[in-house]
Amino acid sequence: MYKYDEYDQAVVDARVDEFRDQVRRRLAGEITEDQFKPLRLMNGLYLQLHAYMLRVAVPYGTLDSRQMRMLAHIARTYDRGYGHFTTRQNIQYNWIKLEDAPDILAELATVEMHAIQTSGNCIRNISSDQFAGAAADEVADPRPWAELLRQWSTFHPEFSYLPRKFKIAVIAADEDRAAMRLHDIGIQLLRRDGVLGAKIFVGGGMGRTPMIAPEIKDFITADDLMSYLEACLRVYNRYGRRDNIYKARIKILIHELGADEYRRQVEEEFAQVKQLGIDPPAAELERISAMFASPPFDPAADDEVDRSDPDFAVWLDQNVRQHKQRGYAIVNISLKPVGGIPGDASAEQIDVMADLAERFSANELRVTHAQNIVLPHVRIADLKLIWDQLVEARLAEANLDLISDIIACPGLDYCSLANARSIPVAQKIAQRFADPARQRDLGELKLKISGCINACGHHHAGHIGILGVDRKGTENYQLLLGGSGAEDVSLGKITGPGFDEDGVVDAIERVTDTYIAVRQKGERFVDTYRRVGMEPFKEAIYG
C-alpha cells in the first residue's frame, strides 16, 4: 500500500499545524462558528447530537495494522472506547472534544493518517473496491489511480468551496463492489486494445434525488486523467447551482444540462486545461503502483481446509471469498452482529483485527462501504485459526450479504441531521431474522437504512431500503424495494404508506415471505422483485 514520502508527510504535518491554529482562534473567539464551520468540516469535524464527531479518512478503504492500532488508541484515549466504520470506507468517532481534535490529528499524522476533506464542500475520500489487489476479476489494481486522485484533490485551491460535497469512486472490474455509478464521479478501469484506461461516469448520487451517473467519457488514459477531472470539476464549480442546497450536487447540473451538453462543456474546458501541463508524468503512477504490488505469495500454499467444525464451515461459505492466488482467500469480517450496532467496533475488537492483519493478511485491512472489514490476503491454511480468534472477539457473525448484514447510518441516536433512529430498526430486523438457516435460505439480500433523506445509509441502493422520516413529530419509516448499488445498479421504489418501527419490521417479513413463495430457482430476492414487480409485495404488505 501507499507509503508517504517526505512531501506527503510535510503536507499532513502542515495541516495539523493549521488546524491547531484554527481551533485556537475559535476557542479564543477570533473567529465565529459560522466562519469556523467550513474549516472544521474540511478536517472532518462535525458538531453532532452529543458531542463533536471526527471522521478519519481511510483512503480507498485501505490501511495497515499500525494504522488500525492507532484507530483503537484514538477510540480508547479520546473517545468512549469504540469507532464506527462508514459507508465511505472511513471511521467516525462520536464523542470528540474540540480541544482534543488537534492532538488527535497530530497522533494520526504519525501513522500517515488524517481527516482531510472527509466533510465540507470539497472532494471527499476517494473510495474503491474492497477486494482490490486480491480479486481475480480486476483488470488492474484501481488504488494507484485512487491515490493519484487523492493527491490531486488534496487542498486543491480551486475546488475547496464547491457548491456541495464531491465523491469519487474507482473500480477495476465489471462487478461493481463500490457503488461506483452512485457517485459524483465514478471511474471504471478497463483495457482497450491492450491499453489500460478508464471509463468516466459523472452525475450519480443518492440523497433527496437519487441518480445513476451517465457515462461522460468512453475511454481515457492515465496521462489525461487529471486534466479531464479538472475540467469536470471546473464546469461544476462554475455552473453548479448554489441557490438551493438540495439542488447543488453535480447530478442536478447534469440532469438540467443533459449529459451531452455537460460532456461538450467538459471537452471544451479539457482542451484548455490540457495545455497547462497539470498531468503528472507516467513515472508518478509507476512510483505509486509499485507500492501496490502483490505481497509475496507462497506458490505452494495449501488450498485444502478442514470443514469438520460445522460453525466454521458456515462462516467459510458465507464470509470467505475467492482470491486470485491459489491457496489464498479473502476474509470478510462482519461488523453486524445480530442485535448489535451496524459498523461499530470496540477498541479491543479493532486491535484484534489489527493483530490478525499483521499475522495473517500481509499486514493489510480494508474497510468496505457496507461497513465491514476485509483481510485481503489470507492463506486458506490459516482460516480456522483466524476464525477461532474472530469468535473470541465476537467478530465471527457469518452473515455477509445476508439480510442481517445491514447498512445503517448512525441515525437520530447520533446525528443532528437525522429525522428518525435507524439503529434500533436494524437491530429489530436482525433479531427477527436471527435464525442463520433462515437467513441463508433468503440468500443475498442487501438491506440499507437511512435515518434521513441525506441517504448516508444508501437506502435507495438497497434490495430492501428503509428511509426514516419525521411524521408530525413521530418517527416513521418508508419501505423501498428493488435498489442496487452493484453493476446491476437501480434505484429502489417506495412500496406505499410508511410504518412505525414495529410495522416496518413486520412489512419486511411479509416481503421476504412473498419472495420465498414466488421465487424461481437461482433467483435472489432482487431478481424475483425485478421479474414479478412491486404488485405481489405491495399486496402482501398492505393487503
Binding site: 512531501y7 503536507v11 502542515a14 464542500n121 485551491p157 480551486e158 468551496y161 462554475r238 497547462l276 497539470i278
Partner: protein
Amino acid sequence: MVDDIAHLRFREDSPHEEPAVTLDSFLADQANATAVRIEPGDDARLLAPYIERLALVEVSFPTFRDGRGYSVARILREAGYRGELRAQGDVLVDQVPLMRRCGFDSFAPTAAIDPEVLRRSLDRYDYHYQKAADSLDGGVQPIWKLRHG
C-alpha cells in the same frame, strides 16, 4: 471598509487607482476602462481577449462559501492576464493561501485580517500536490515535479 492594503497586496507596482466597471458595461460600451469587476456568475472567459488592456480585475466574493471566484482567477491567469487580480468581499484569512494559488495577488476583505495570522498561513505549506495558477511561468512546482524532475 477596505482593510489596510499594505500587507494584502503582493505586487511590486503601484496600486491601480481607476474605478472598476462591471463586466457587462466593459463588454457593452466601456471598452476603454482599465479595471473590471467580476461577479461570481460572470463568465470570466469573456474577458480573455481584452486582458492586455487591463490593469486590475476585481473579483467579488459576496459570501466566502461561493467558490466561483477561484475558477475566475485561474481562468484569467491561464489566459495570460498579468495585471492585478483582487479578491474583494467576504474573504477570510484562511482562504487567502488558496486564493493566492489561484492567482489572486491582492485582497480587499470586508472584515479586517490579522496580519500575523496571515503571515503564518502563507508560510505554512511548503509543498503542494497539484499545479495551479502559481505554477504558471514556472513558479511553484507541484510535488510530482519535485519527485520526478
